[in-house]
């Protein structure tokens, strides 16, 4: 299989990585895959960075991410995945919203926020996920997702969602993203949240913020 090189070669940054690169010659894909499991963290980190140049690296980067414990190597893997982009990366990142590692989950959310067009086809499935934590992460993604449908998706959550923490997260995001046109939907929630003190407080705060912003404008 011919492996496509997608970017300009990045020079290695340490003695060990320079050794691994074997002089001036750019490392080949097989060498980098092998170095991705090197006992030395700085070599794994360099290999992870270099693999951003090869589109077929995605499954290998995810495999290493799942067993990697060094934060700097994790960071390099995430940078390469973000650089490579594409549907395979987005699907792999979404699968890791279930990670037991909160740092992984939060980095996944931050990267997905930067890929609006690739993430958009998955949003409705995520918002309908059986796990409420995944639905909360979907709303976290929407917070900074520069997609024209984001407000509409949040309003759909307001109308359909029953779980208090998912609903609370949606209200929280609308405190910043909400517009005066959304006030009828927010006001319609008052009765539903009246028995949950946090939700009542959050909804009042969101409505107040939108009204204040509208009056100031």
């Amino acid at each position: 299989m011919a492996l496509k090189r997608v970017q300009t070669h990045v020079q290695p940054t340490s003695v060990a990585t320079a050794d691994a690169a074997q002089g001036d010659q750019a490392p080949d894909w097989q060498t980098l895959i092998a170095h991705l499991q090197d006992p030395q963290a700085h070599t794994r980190r360099w290999a992870a960075r270099e693999l951003a140049n090869f589109v077929h690296s995605v499954p290998h980067l995810f495999t290493q991410l799942d067993r990697e414990t060094d934060l700097k190597v994790q960071e390099a893997i995430f940078c390469s995945l973000q650089s490579l982009g594409g549907p395979q990366v987005v699907e792999g990142l979404i699968a890791r919203l279930n990670s037991d590692d909160a740092g992984i989950r939060n980095t996944v959310i931050e990267i997905l926020q930067t890929l609006p067009e690739e993430v958009a086809p998955h949003i409705q499935d995520l918002l309908a996920h059986t796990n409420p934590d995944i639905r909360i992460f979907a709303i976290d993604i929407l917070q900074l997702l520069a997609h024209p449908c984001a407000p509409e998706w949040l309003l759909h959550v307001l109308a359909q969602e029953q779980h208090p923490n998912v609903l609370g997260t949606a209200i929280d995001r609308l405190l910043e993203l909400g517009t005066p046109e959304m006030l009828p939907q927010l006001n319609a929630l008052q009765a539903r949240v009246a028995q949950t003190p946090y939700l009542k407080f959050a909804l009042d705060a969101a409505i107040q913020r939108i009204e204040d912003t509208s009056n100031a404008g």
Partner: protein, 126 residues
């Protein structure tokens, strides 16, 4: 005056917890993530921290680990407050150094009772 640091990326949660804590008479400071919280913790004295789990830049577990490693901060009581309610989540919080764990949405009386218990003074005594 004993001050409480509230660490959460959700604006409405910070506002709500601030409301509940100030009702008890304690001043608060707020941070949106673990990085900002560590900076604030190094600059001021806090008697208690309320910490969320999922936050950008530095999550709540990692923040607590950093606090527990720091001789100047390691004795500050920490209440972790999260939407995650499984036993493994609660165990993880205690394993990194949280003293208490509350599940969102926060029960106002439960939080206020716990804060009063930890800080050792009722509103009237301050």
């Amino acid at each position: 005056m004993k001050q409480v640091l509230i660490v959460d990326d959700a604006v409405t949660v910070r506002l709500y917890h601030r409301h509940l804590i100030t009702e008890l008479g304690y001043p608060t400071s707020e941070a949106e993530n673990g990085v900002e919280a560590l900076e604030k913790a190094m600059q001021a004295s806090f008697a208690l921290m309320l910490v969320d789990v999922n936050m950008p830049k530095m999550d709540g577990y990692r923040f607590i680990e950093e606090v527990r490693k720091n001789p100047d901060l390691q004795s500050i009581p920490i209440i972790m407050i999260s939407t995650e309610s499984e036993a493994k989540d609660i165990q993880k919080a205690y394993s990194v150094g949280a003293n208490f764990y509350l599940i969102k949405p926060t029960d106002p009386k439960r939080l206020q009772d716990l804060v009063t218990l930890i800080l050792g003074q009722s509103k009237q005594e301050i």
